[in-house]
């Protein structure tokens, strides 16, 4: 049974903010919520290496919300940017040109579009090389910054602007979400975790645990997205909660490849989650897409059957 060691009570969440307000991210952004909580553990001695995506808009000239540093790279190569920063810091410290107390944590910020597809090569390379860095993927299951187009993280049955539903494709997107967690795990990094904004203590605990590991520390953050998933911004925690409670978004970690589920949901029907969001509305009206809903439920059931072994 997994237990939190550092963060046992909500009042242990540090009061200090490290990602300040005034950004132009959408009201109710689940990704920003996860980042804000993560930053409370990471602190300010950080350089964020950003891939093109919604988080590009965090720092727009002349404003930055960070007390730490930021480097905007490209959509495909933020982990390679992290490699350059990390290596340069190490070299400069080793050569005595940078005092040790000036050292920084290197944190990649990438959306799912970057993470699941375009930056996969550079991510794979960085993990393979054992790069000591954090990877924070805010997964809102579509290309959000361009207005919600299908990505490899888009789940089966979700409507996006490039996976419309039609008579031929009544369930909209036809592919199941790529399992990036397992792709990462195949690289055998020391630490991987999934997190969700409705579970702040689980999130804080995982970042706190990751600190102990040298090497790639990878986080997949469910980024419930009112703008793209079509629900009211105030419902972000509720949507994130149902993603977890239905079993669609397992909260887990993998330490040196060994997977532990950090929360075992009672597994509400997936329908409870789907019904909250406009992107799945076509599964229920005008006619109910039983087969699609069953497919989604079966995928979840199969997953948890394997978990409980």
């Amino acid at each position: 049974m997994w237990q939190r060691e550092t963060f046992k009570k909500i009042k242990q969440i540090p009061r200090e903010e490290h990602v300040l307000p005034g950004t132009s991210l959408c009201a109710g952004c689940g990704g920003l919520e996860s980042l804000r909580l993560a930053a409370k553990v990471l602190g300010d001695d950080v350089v964020y290496v950003n891939a093109a995506g919604c988080f590009t808009m965090l720092a727009t000239y002349p404003f930055t919300p960070f007390k730490g540093s930021w480097l905007y790279t490209t959509m495909a190569s933020a982990p390679a940017g992290a490699q350059g920063v990390r290596d340069a810091l190490d070299v400069l410290i080793a050569k005595g040109r940078l005092p040790r107390n000036e050292n920084l944590k290197v944190v990649v910020l990438g959306g799912d579009g970057s993470t699941y597809d375009m930056a996969l090569s550079s991510t794979s390379g960085a993990i393979y090389r054992g790069l000591d860095f954090y990877y924070f993927c805010y997964d809102n299951e579509a290309y959000g910054n361009t207005g919600m187009q299908l990505s490899a993280a888009t789940p089966y049955g979700a409507r996006t602007s490039t996976s419309p539903c039609s008579l031929q494709h009544p369930s909209a997107s036809m592919q199941d979400k790529k399992d990036i967690f397992e792709i990462w795990r195949a690289h055998k990094p020391p630490y991987i975790a999934t997190v969700a904004p409705r579970y702040p203590l689980d999130l804080e605990e995982k970042f706190a645990r990751a600190v102990k590991f040298t090497g790639p520390k990878l986080f997949l953050a469910l980024s419930a997205c009112p703008t793209g998933w079509l629900y009211d911004p105030g419902e972000t925690p509720e949507v994130a909660k149902l993603a977890v409670e239905t079993g669609l978004w397992p909260l887990k970690e993998a330490i040196n490849g060994a997977v532990i589920h950090t929360y075992i949901p009672k597994r509400k029907p997936v329908e409870d989650y789907l019904r909250l969001q406009g992107r799945f509305r076509h599964l229920f009206e005008p006619t109910r897409q039983d087969e699609a809903i069953r497919h989604i439920q079966e995928r979840v059931d199969t997953y948890w059957k394997l978990v409980s072994g």
Binding site: T60, Y61, S69, L71, T73, G84, S121, G125, Y128
Partner: protein, 412 residues
Amino acid sequence: MNQTNQMMMTGNLAAAWGARLAEADYIPAFPITPQTEIVEALAKWCESGAMAARFVTMDSEHSMMTAAGAAAATGARVFTATSSQGLLYAIEVLYSISGWRAPLVLVNVSRALAAPITLEPDHNDVLAARDSGFLQIHAETCQEVLDSILMAYRIAEDERVMLPVIVNLDGFYLSFTREPVILPAPEQVAQFLPPFRPAHLGFKASAPHALGVAVLGGTPYSYFRHQMHLAAMNALDVHSETAAEFERLFGRRYDVVEGYRLDDAEDVLVMSNAFASRGKVAVDAARAEGRRVGLLRLRMIRPWPADAIRDALRSRRAVAVLDQNLAPGQGGILFQEVAACLYGEALRPRTLCSFIGGLGGKNLSEGEFRTIFEQTAEAGVRETGIGPVLLYTEAEHREMKQLQMLAGELGS
């Protein structure tokens, strides 16, 4: 090494020595022919301790350039190298690095671009990066490769410039060609090249900053992009200071352009890179026959040394530009730039001729140079320019026809 500190070395090894003598801190690498030998040499030296640099093999040129730029943005002196397809794969990142104003040196070993894929050089690869904000120095000899890398770091890291530099050398004709190269003494290099301590770069806990942040709207974008232009233009003066200092310390002089037998030349051939050596031989041969010809080698392509080009070409009868590249639907890339900078010159040459040669490393023969001089002289007399003229001989044409026959034809 002989007594004058000379060694037989390839252009690739000379490039590696440039990085070694500049005491680069960081070398992200990715193999590609004909550049690979550079990173092989550097990997060996980093491993043996001959160089105090970290060498990392990346997963692609795109990643390699990102790591290179990010490391420079963190305050390390960075060297890397690529060729051809690799340069194009990374080209998005070149724009990022120059936008960060992160100085580093990238060696490009020129190789023609696919499709069809080939291994031998022309300059469409490096010229595809001409608007990226990287400065460009094109070398003619192995010695110049090494020397230009040292100069490139000094120019790039100057506060008035702070832009990355590409040093270009031709695949095969320089990369794999050995010739004697004088190795500068490390103490002298240290004197020539001050330590890299940029004011605006260097991530550290005590000085957080955001770099390369998004701008919304054209007003800040125009401003920053124009600053890169001003920085690049500053590099002309910085180059001339650097050249003077280099000459003082090492006794070799490099200017943004090199004139060869220009004094009384009525017709001038303009070209760049390794084949310029051959061009000089051709000038000598033509001179021996009484033709008053000379050669202008373009060494710095970015910033574009318009004044130096105008000074060299003013009042000539005819000027021929030999482009070892081809912009389909337009012609020679350097021809356009030479023509544009001469237009405002009152005593501009009456006649401009455009020649395209050496594509995909195709040989530029003595006979082809003779043809260039003859056609240019005739055009000068007529006062009518010609081109683009593809340098392609009858024998080559026959050979090509045979290859096509073997490849089979539709319906045959």
